[in-house]
């Protein structure tokens, strides 16, 4: 698999996607969007991949949109920024949220603009100690996109979401963890090993069951309590029919380690 703007590796049932435009802090242009979409589409349905890791090459994670890829001539007619959102960013965020397997975001450096919100769309975010998150949109007169205004208040609460989105200040990895915005922080030199260990652990888990957990947690944000209880009943019915549930119960009875296949 050869791509121009990303690095792709599949190892021990984990798919590693690394944004690879380090000179531009891995900011998105159209070609990178297309490559990312192609790889994620494949991994969504590929049963050999049971966990996905997204990271960035070089010192940054992702600086969001590459502004030089857009027309910024101040005399030209106003651009329609909705087009690239509808065509690229929104589908990317939906793909990450609906991916039927865990998605880890290894934030190796600055995550700004859409880059910060792509991280928030992933299931587990582990950031390097030197990494930071910036809702940079307000500084250009724009609105946080890529799900930012949806994820942020849910992750950190209304007051802090407002502060982050209106001020666009840099948030350190440690502070992000303190706020409950991300799962964990690692020493810079240890980030990669820590993420790999976590990804390989997740890749051995009952993947189908994990996909149902993702679904339940995502739906909780717009369901009523009653609806959520009904959803839990429904998903548990489906989970109870899986091979992995049988294997899990058998392994427990036989006092051995379960061998999950993800089905």
């Amino acid at each position: 698999m050869d791509y121009q703007h990303i690095l792709v590796k599949e190892h021990n049932q984990v798919g590693y996607l690394t944004l690879n435009r380090p000179k531009q802090l891995n900011s998105f242009n159209v070609a990178m969007h297309q490559e990312v979409a192609e790889v994620l589409k494949n991994w969504t349905v590929n049963p050999e991949i049971r966990c996905v890791v997204i990271s960035g090459e070089g010192r940054g994670f992702c600086a969001g949109q590459d502004l030089s890829d857009r027309v910024v001539d101040p005399d030209a007619a106003a651009p329609d920024l909705g087009v690239s959102i509808e065509k690229f960013y929104n589908p990317l965020i939906k793909t990450l949220v609906n991916m039927p397997k865990p998605v880890i975001c290894a934030v190796n450096g600055v995550a700004a603009g859409a880059g910060a919100n792509i991280a928030l769309a992933c299931d587990l975010v582990i950031a390097a100690k030197s990494a930071s998150f910036i809702q940079a949109f307000c500084r250009l007169g724009l609105v946080p996109d890529s799900g930012g205004t949806w994820f942020l208040p849910r992750a950190v609460g209304h007051a802090r979401a407002m502060g982050l989105a209106l001020l666009g200040d840099k948030l350190s990895a440690e502070d992000a963890k303190q706020l409950g915005m991300i799962w964990d922080v690692a020493e810079d030199a240890e980030l990669q090993d820590k993420v790999t260990a976590l990804a390989e652990r997740l890749a051995k888990q009952p993947t189908f069951g994990l996909s149902l957990i993702k679904k339940a947690i995502h739906q909780s944000s717009h369901n009523t309590f009653e609806q959520q209880l009904t959803l839990e009943r429904d998903l548990q019915r489906i989970a109870g029919r899986s091979d992995d549930y049988r294997e899990g119960v058998q392994a427990f009875m036989q006092k051995r380690e379960p061998n999950y296949t993800g089905c």
């Binding site: 959803l231 429904d234 019915r237 489906i238 029919r241």
Partner: protein
Amino acid sequence: MQELITQSYPAEKVLLLSLNRLEKRNALNNATLRHLVELLQQAEQNPDVGVVVITGHASCFAAGADLAELADLDVVNLQLDERPQLWQKIDSFSKPLIVAVNGYALGAGFELVLHADIVLCGENAKFALPEIGLGMLPGAGGTQRLARLVGQQLAMRWAMTGEMLSAEQALQHGICSQVSPTALTVQYAVELAGKIARQAPLALRVIKQSIKNIHETSLSQGLKLERQSFVWLAATQDRQEGISAFFEKRKPVFKGQ
């Protein structure tokens, strides 16, 4: 030859019909529609069938009519087409008809859904009337039943654009009464059918008539018909049984008499 529609009895007095031409995305060609009508007519006569559930496949309910068949018909042959009669027979089926929709219900597939008394959807269900894209209009009641169900604004919009509706939209606008995870749609439809199949058959019959009648009559006429059915049911044994069982605090046993 492969069965166009498979039959099973997943619960007492519940007949499940599954459209079985997945390679053609369950397109409702004449043969399939004819077979469906035959099976419904048998079910009509069969006292062991209380409720019929129609479903398709997990990924596709029915993706429209058979375009190849349609393309062959000119204006004269269309005049003589048997399909309107087939649809009419589905419409006049007198027992409760439940449709369980997973995946695409497009064109004639959507129109078949609109013939049902009760519709349950999987969350992957998608509805559309794409006929406009072919320079046609829905020809099996799509414009009529949909407009009566959801009103002019939405029916016009959907029929004029061919826009795709999600299961959630279908629920919101009363095209279905329940959305469940896709893997459970048929199970829940069968459970619902089982619950209905335990009710008094004659009462079910007049309830269906009475409610379907709302599109044909004024309120005062509808109320008169409802009253007539109410009085007529008083002559049935099942009504006595239902009332007795209520006072005796036991479950009624209905016989359809």
